[in-house]
């Protein structure tokens, strides 16, 4: 499983465009928002946590179809399914690799982009923490979505349609943590619920994803 993780990481780095592309997308979305709503500092500071969350979520979404598509095309997914490692484990590793290559850079970059949106000083810490806790859920849910649509030609749009509604609870709690943090309110409750969603998704969704992968490989 560690070998698989290293392989996936190496592929993501060497294929190019892996996290570079996601990060650039995140940057562009964040830059576009002031163009759309106007450069008023007070307004931007108010909506900054939500924008950072939505930007991170969309950039996460962009890289989802890469999780299984290439392996499905060249047949290595079949080998993985027949390997002695349980497929659930392989799916979890894939999700972790996706998180490390696509989501973690976003988490690190989000506070920096917060400067562009004049995020209040209190908010930087909580945007970072909420994204750190919430993005694992995004990756695992996305892996499930990618597993669902792996057999479909041009499934990218369908993947978004399936995955985005599943992202709703994570987004609500994550953005709530960031917003409350930025306004200096107590954040414990949404923070715990966010962590709960992440842990629950990590615990259960690999099984669902492995089940749908097996169906797709039949």
């Amino acid at each position: 499983m560690i070998a698989l993780l290293i392989r996936d990481l190496r592929l993501a780095v060497r294929a190019g465009g892996g996290f570079g592309l996601g990060l650039s997308f995140f940057l562009i979305v964040t830059v576009l928002v002031p163009f759309g709503v106007g450069p008023e500092t007070g307004l931007l500071a108010k909506i900054a946590p939500g924008i950072l969350w939505i930007g991170a979520l969309l950039s996460c979404l962009l890289s989802l179809d890469r999780i299984f598509a290439l392996d499905f095309e060249d047949g290595s997914l079949d080998l993985l399914a027949t390997a002695p490692v349980p497929l659930e484990g392989a799916v979890l590793v894939k999700a972790i690799a996706h998180w490390l290559t696509s989501a973690l850079p976003l988490v690190v970059a989000a506070p920096l982009l917060g400067i562009l949106l004049s995020l209040p000083a209190e908010g930087f810490r909580w945007v970072f923490v909420s994204l750190l806790l919430g993005t694992p859920a995004l990756s695992v849910i996305g892996t499930f979505g990618a597993a669902l649509t792996v057999g479909i030609k041009r499934g990218g749009l369908l993947l978004s349609l399936l995955v985005l509604p599943l992202y709703v609870p994570t987004l609500i709690f994550g953005a709530e943590v960031a917003r409350r943090g930025a306004e200096g309110l107590a954040v414990e409750t949404p923070l715990m619920l966010l962590a709960g969603i992440s842990l629950g998704a990590l615990a259960f969704l690999p099984f669902a994803a492995a089940a749908v992968l097996r169906m797709n490989l039949r």
Partner: protein, 248 residues
């Protein structure tokens, strides 16, 4: 004699052949009674005036929108566990019907909300969770359409339905986080439907036609799902026949 006998498509078709015409008539009659009674023979609400009468469309549609998803969930579970094709096809048939019910609930809610709350839409927990439910319906239907092999499609959509149910419930309670919102809490079923009138409860003058409308919507849903399931079974048969012809 158990319900599982009707997992056989032939028996299912034979049963629904007999069942459908009376069901269709019954649902038309019940709907007509419920809606006409509701629209023309109930007094106006003392505060809301005649706008209250949209309740006879709004509440039953919302009720069926949720219950259609529940039915899809049960049918998907049956497909996963016992692999009865009729069950998978019934889940598929219920999808669009449920989606339309959700649209009706949202649209009548907006029409009702405009004069009462002064707004077509508010990000109220109940409204938001219905919108999310609608998105789940869309995803479910789109996944069915996208996959060619019908068994794989049934497998994948049923897993999506299971996972989606969990996340739909999560979203339902996650949106509560903002505030209570404009929509009132449950008041129709509270404190025993036909028990004494209290301040908290919808009065029987309004409640009884509402229950008739609910029954009508339920019967309509049942009729449509059975009809659509029959269509699905037949279209699958046609596909099989065509495949056989091509092979011969």
């Amino acid at each position: 004699m158990s319900i599982w006998e009707y997992a056989n498509p032939v028996k299912f078709l034979r049963l629904t052949d007999k069942l459908l015409p009376p069901l269709a008539i019954l649902s038309i009659v019940t709907l007509t009674i419920g809606l006409v009674w509701g629209f023309f023979f109930t007094p106006d609400d003392f505060r809301q005036g005649s706008t209250v009468k949209i309740i006879y469309l709004h509440v039953p549609a919302a009720l069926m929108a949720i219950n259609a998803w529940l039915m899809m969930l049960v049918a998907s579970l049956i497909w996963i566990v016992r692999r009865h094709h009729v069950s998978a096809l019934a889940a598929r048939a219920a999808g669009p019907v449920g989606a339309v019910m959700t649209i009706i609930a949202l649209a009548t809610g907006a029409i009702w909300g405009q004069p009462m709350w002064g707004t077509w839409w508010a990000w109220d927990p109940r409204l938001t969770s219905f919108l999310i439910l609608f998105l789940f319906y869309l995803g479910y239907i789109a996944l069915w359409e996208a996959i060619e092999d019908s068994d794989t499609a049934a497998d994948l959509t049923s897993i999506l339905c299971l996972v989606g149910s969990v996340f739909a419930v999560l979203s339902r309670y996650a949106v509560n986080f903002w505030n209570q919102g404009l929509h009132q809490g449950a008041s129709v079923m509270r404190a025993g439907a036909f028990a004494g009138d209290t301040e908290e409860r919808v009065s029987n003058v309004f409640a009884i036609p509402l229950f008739v409308s609910m029954a009508g919507f339920f019967l309509l849903f049942l009729t449509l799902v059975l009809l659509r399931t029959r269509t699905e079974i037949r279209s699958r048969r046609i596909k099989a026949l065509l495949a056989k012809e091509r092979a011969a």
